[in-house]
Amino acid sequence: MAYAIIRGAGLERYYAERTELPPRPEPLRERWESVDPEHLDDGSCEIRLAIDGLRCASCVWVTENVLERTDGIRRVQVSYATGRASIRWDPGQLDLGEIAGRIASLGYRPRLLGSEARPDRSLLTRLGVAAFAAANVMMFSAAIYAGWLGSMEPAYLTLFRWASLVLATPVALWSAAPFFEGAWTGLRNRILHMDVPIAIAIGVLYVQGVAGTLAGFDTYLDSLTMLVTLLLAGRVLESGGRRRAAEAAVTLAATVPGTARRIVGDSLEVVASESLLPGDRVAVGAGEDLPADGVIVAGRGLLQRALLTGESAPVTVQENDEVWAGTLLVDGAVTVEVSVAVEGTVIQQMAEQLRQAADRGTRPSSTDRIAPWFTAATLGVALLTFLVWLPLAGGAKALTTTIAVLIVACPCALALSKPLTAAAGLGAAARRGLLFRSADALLDTAAVDTVVLDKTGTVTEGAVDIVAAADQDLRVAAGLERYSRHPIAVAIVRETVARGIPLPASSDVREEAGVGMEGRVDGALWRIRSGGADLVILEGEGGYRGLIRVGDRVREDSRSAVAALQDLGMRVTLLSGDDPEPTRRIAEALGIEETMPNTSPAAKAERIEGWRAEGRTVLFAGDGLNDGPALAAANVAVAMGSGAASSILTADAVLGVPSVGPLAAGVRVSRVCRSAIRANQARSIAYNVLAVSAAAVGLVNPLVAAVLMPLSSGMVLAGAGRVERRVRALERSGPEKTGS
């Protein structure tokens, strides 16, 4: 709204340039006050904002927690995947400007949806500077450590230390700033997360480095630069897996035509679909998408409702039938009386559900849950070390030992274990055809025990195909159907050509949209009519009746894919909006026992929620826009790469190939990753216990730290590198049934 006004006044450049300035609270307030949020029935307001600068799951957690504790805010949902927040508040207690200010005070940048996001390049810049400094400081340190063995003139030792300090300073003060900011934000809101122990270690390392350089004792600046480099690399990896998806609803809305032909008196006028009001009449011709929900008042035609039902076979519609915006009139011509304004259309409601699906909250990872304990333990051990050493060896020794404890306690390996392993896992899954949107989605898949497959377009090819027909019937039918563009007609002609039957000549062919065809083939009169969703009836002179069964063809590898999932211990269910008979036929062909035919989009979601309430973890694979609610309800939502754009945008993972085969591979990769992360967490905690113990008894010096720290991170890296190999081992050992 505000954006439209600003753009209308040609002022967008002003904002584009103004954001370069440091934030000033006053003009920001004014900008938010002109925004018109959605007013709900209970008196509260709701708005969706984009929030830039959410770096990690903890940031989401912090934002949600802080906002939730603010008086007047009723509900907050922040999505890490999309960087969007949905906020509901009481306008009597605070205004949007105050909410935006609160978010800004946490260090994030709220903005109205629609204003363009600038990609965050600062993380990469910080990483570049840190890596540059780390490489050079390590070079100097190697010289210093070599000097321990031989003899180094004190002047050169001082030179190397000063050079290290000069290079380490921008790393500690600028590159590491995100960790300090994160820790500070957390502390201010009384939330301890992983940034706190990291910030303590970096701070202590740097202060000790400055003091050591000035006073002439050994410093740990090489460890400092390397730690910051590794941690920033982990952050970059973590944010790289997450793609800033365009809003799914935008794509959905795009399937509704922008304009409609409104009937005014005896003529037609072209108007924007958005301006249609209940009672308006619009004309829709063959091949056009419907611009609004309504009722047919004149004409008849064939309506393809795949958008709503997912079933590709069109149905006949006539007077008094209800039709929906976004569905396709394959053939015929109708006049539709609009029944609801644009906001009330089924497709808009679906868009809203998709938005909520994209906003599914992120919970803090297991690493974040460990953080408070970890921080408390580190600080406790440090304090104990100081108190024990103080009477034994005096203040100076007690202080250096305590510093060593704080330094080696840096949870570098712990913080790296998830991003590194997940990055390896995302790659391994992608090579097998399953593209996960985020690390969280990948790791969630490990717990899946129930797989729900959509029928049309997922396990089947989604196109109408001839299942059974006699050659002579097909030949006659093709003679008539060659003039029609009905999908079944197209399939009949295609099958006839595929069987090598020459198309017969026909005459007097007449098509009655939605009813059937009539005409002469080889001089005799023939009629074709529909006998239900999967049957075409051919009627000839003298009471001849031929049947052509149509249906959906099962993808070649669907059976082996289902078998592979069942071998992994999954309960596989086939869901469909289709009738029981074709659903059962396909389930039988696939070896699936449980089917749920005649399931509406809402019922699919309800069923999945029911299973989740029973404590099951559900993976749903579907392709249509109508699968939105089901995709949202499932723990792990998988969309077909060839499916509707909005289902791809909201899904946790996308199948890169037209097959459900990669699902089993994805589950395997996920299981390997989860166990690898657990092992890494256990190892890095074991390392920390060992290293902190060694430091507490005074065994750690800069060289030991410089060797130990990369060793622990290297361990994590090696664990991540083994993901691919372990997945392959699992694939070889797993009993794989084939479809034969």
Binding site: P119, R121, L124, G128, A135, E153, L159, R243
Partner: protein
């Protein structure tokens, strides 16, 4: 050993050149989107 006094600036200077090149690449947006360009060839439009 006096050589070290100008070898250090030379080493740091060379590394600095690469840092500047990297930062230039970041600033010109080469790292903004590492996924989509590779897939763009697969899209119809």
């Amino acid at each position: 050993m006096i050589a070290i006094t100008f070898l250090i600036p030379i080493a740091v200077g060379i590394a600095l050149v690469f840092l500047v090149l990297f930062l230039g690449a970041v600033r010109s947006g080469q790292f903004d989107d590492l996924d989509d360009p590779a897939e763009r060839i697969l899209h119809d439009d």
